[in-house]
Amino acid sequence: MPPPHGGRLINRVLKGKERDRRLKEALELPKIKLPSEYIKDIENIAHGVFSPLEGPMIQEDYLNVLENMRLSNDLPWTIPIVIDVDEEEIKTVKEGDNITIICLEEEKLIAILHVEEVYDYDKEKHVEKVFGIKDPAHPGVAKTYGMKEKLLGGKIDLIDHSANPYYKYTLWPVETRLLFKERGWRTIVGFQTRNAPHTGHEYVQKTALTFTDGLFINPVIGRKKKGDFKDEVILAAYEELIKHYYLKDRAVLAILRTEMRYAGPREAIFHAIVRKNFGCTHFIVGRDHAGVGNFYPPYAAQEIFDEFPDLGIIPIFFKEFFICKKCGGMANEKTCPHPEEYRVRFSGTVIRKLLQQGKKPPKEIMRPEISEIILKWKNPFVE
């Protein structure tokens, strides 16, 4: 099993008497309220999902990530993890102070942040570096333009967790690492998804599983764009797929509670690092990983891995699969010599349209059990 990114699994979850003491302290500190999407990432940091980060990035790391796709200690890291605030919210806070983080939706005390830095940032530069474009039609760009004016950097200490409707699917790296060990897996392939599975996904996963010991299916659960599958639909569909079509001792389903950034190539590296922290040795990267619309070339998210010989997790690249009527099964451009007219492609748009009309996609495209599960929802898609 690979060591965590940076060599040490971060644990900033307070427990026992120390937690009680810090909770008392937290009640007296200045407070900032953050939406649940930020809170999930604070929990991820505290539990080591984002190791070696110990809190939102300080300016040196933030700028290094933008410019060099690395932290200031040269470790690969491609997505800024930051907390943005208004000047007004932190007018009484100085660098070196502690502040309490409250979950906005639940009004619940979550963590203490040791504020090392309050700094300005350039949104134009941020979007250009992270997303490669400035077009506000891109959801990540639009979100960045809507961010507040200052960034806070420092270390966090987690006091409590936010509400989690998917508790039974939530495993932290320390748990997945032990689970993989218990199962006797030495090689584990991670699969990132934000979709209910079609047969193309299943084929990719099983192909990777033929030369690894175990498969870690790790859907992203969190804010997504309109038209993506709802979280509960993704989980129910995967439960069904594993029940009918996977060996139970070869697959683990657990979630990653974070938002999609839709940063394409950069996000593929970020996704790989996170799975390394969960204990994966390999990571599947398909066509247009973490992309949106036509903002990124189809295989840019594979090519970027050339720049990271020190990532510590092995990417497995797949060309887009399709069904070839002449080959009589699943194929891709590396394996199929037949022309386009024989090929049936996996179109998310077509699958979505059929499901929205209450129709099952063809069984070659989506397992009937999966279609049935999805069709139990009146609207299985994010509105």
């Binding site: 060591p3 080591g48 039974k168 690492r177 032990l178 689970l179 218990e182 010989p309």
Partner: protein, 77 residues
């Protein structure tokens, strides 16, 4: 901070034999690397990654606690 200052802060020199440098200078033309420096940086990062060692991330006590949760959630028997 100017670009030059940032560069000098983020980069440093190392000494390698001139003959080796010349060899690399020739080789680098056949690769996607833009300079000998970027090739050497790539090789060193690759080397350092290989030195990373596997180690347990939990103590024996923690192990039992974690197993308890995994059992409760149905991940292990």
């Amino acid at each position: 901070m100017t670009e030059e200052k940032t560069k000098s802060k983020n980069f440093t020199s190392i000494l390698i034999p001139t003959s080796l440098y010349k060899k690399l200078e020739e080789k680098v033309k056949e690769t996607e690397f833009s300079s000998v420096s970027s090739l050497v940086t790539h090789i060193i990062r690759e080397y350092l990654a290989k030195l990373e060692e596997e180690k347990e991330v939990f103590s024996e006590e923690e192990e039992e606690e974690i197993k308890e949760r995994l059992r409760a959630l149905g991940y292990i028997d």
